[in-house]
Subunit: 196 residues, 2 copies
Amino acid sequence: MNFLMTRIFAEAGVSEEGLEKIASIIRTRSLEQGEYLFRQGDTAPNLYLIRNGLAKMSYITSDGKEFVKSFLPEGSFAGSLIAQMENCETTFSIVCLEPVEVEIVPFRAVQKLFERDPAALDFGFRFFQALALKKEKREYSFLCLAPEERYQWFLKENPTLADRVTKADIARYLGITPVALSRIRRRMKEPVNSMT
Amino acid sequence: MNFLMTRIFAEAGVSEEGLEKIASIIRTRSLEQGEYLFRQGDTAPNLYLIRNGLAKMSYITSDGKEFVKSFLPEGSFAGSLIAQMENCETTFSIVCLEPVEVEIVPFRAVQKLFERDPAALDFGFRFFQALALKKEKREYSFLCLAPEERYQWFLKENPTLADRVTKADIARYLGITPVALSRIRRRMKEPVNSMT
DNA sequence: CATGGTGATTAACCCAAGTTAATTCCATCC
DNA sequence: GGATGGAATTAACTTGGGTTAATCACCATG
């Protein structure tokens, strides 16, 4: 079986034995659109790698509102940091927006790989460094940008995603309601009206 | 000289030679309240460790508005991820809210330590993992919480900070104006008015 | 005691997002 | 072709933050 995860680890310089060990543990799953990889509150101590398709991570608040934490196109690693580090239930769900093929490995196995293989640890280091930078940029967009600017930023950063997901999911990703996003889009279409 | 940074690295299991190497490079600075460690747009390819005092990282937008990215009490590591990873200018400033003593090391020196000492790399791995988790929680607060809830969350997570910084800086940390925070505080004080 | 100066609050007004509900648009399916 | 259902938009109204400016409280300083 040709796993995407082992290919990525191999490119990172992980040793043959490390690769074989991981390859022997990887499970794969195929999911339909609408199916859940896991649900908020589940224990999901796994690292996921999306091979194909598109999914979203989202929070559901106590009063039933949904907010999209992140979109997961093919090639995305996913998993619950909290579940991994603090050993508790996941605080969000992952649901498929398109049919998905995913590779699944328990966190424990990855951790062991990190402990034994310096190249793997270096990969993990760079992975989390990049993740922190990504989250920092999203923090910036929430902290400093108005909803309309945030939408334009999203379009610029995710040109391909924009037409694979619904407007409603984009709104929930931006932290606003679908109605508000629709109004923003109308404002953006309107002629600038510099004079009449 | 007894550095805080070498103490932390020593606890992480970094080798003697690594510690000595770093100790030989550390510079220290003392800053008054109001002084800048660096300004938005500077090149600041350094890792900072706040020994004493309190500082804040903040973005200034093109129209002059300030937003507080993070508060830095004693023991905080700080630096610009973007400056480090993408080798460009900093996108925010660090200014002291109290007199500050800080230890300064070039990123290059830390990177070399990571390359040569597995214990150091492991420390870096865990550092960025924890940073990513922290940013994820802040992302959650912006995405899912209303300003008032965000303020209550801040008070709960930072009980000691709340009375070391001004209300205006708390507001700018929450992404709202000082006026809005003042209104929120009044609402929170108001009797619940369950009956008249 | 008067004088600044700063931080915090308040007031008044405007505007954008939330809410609820209706409507339009399209793709699909029988 | 008509019915169904989801996505997107629109409308009408409410609510809460932004803006500007005034006021208040407190403290340091002359």
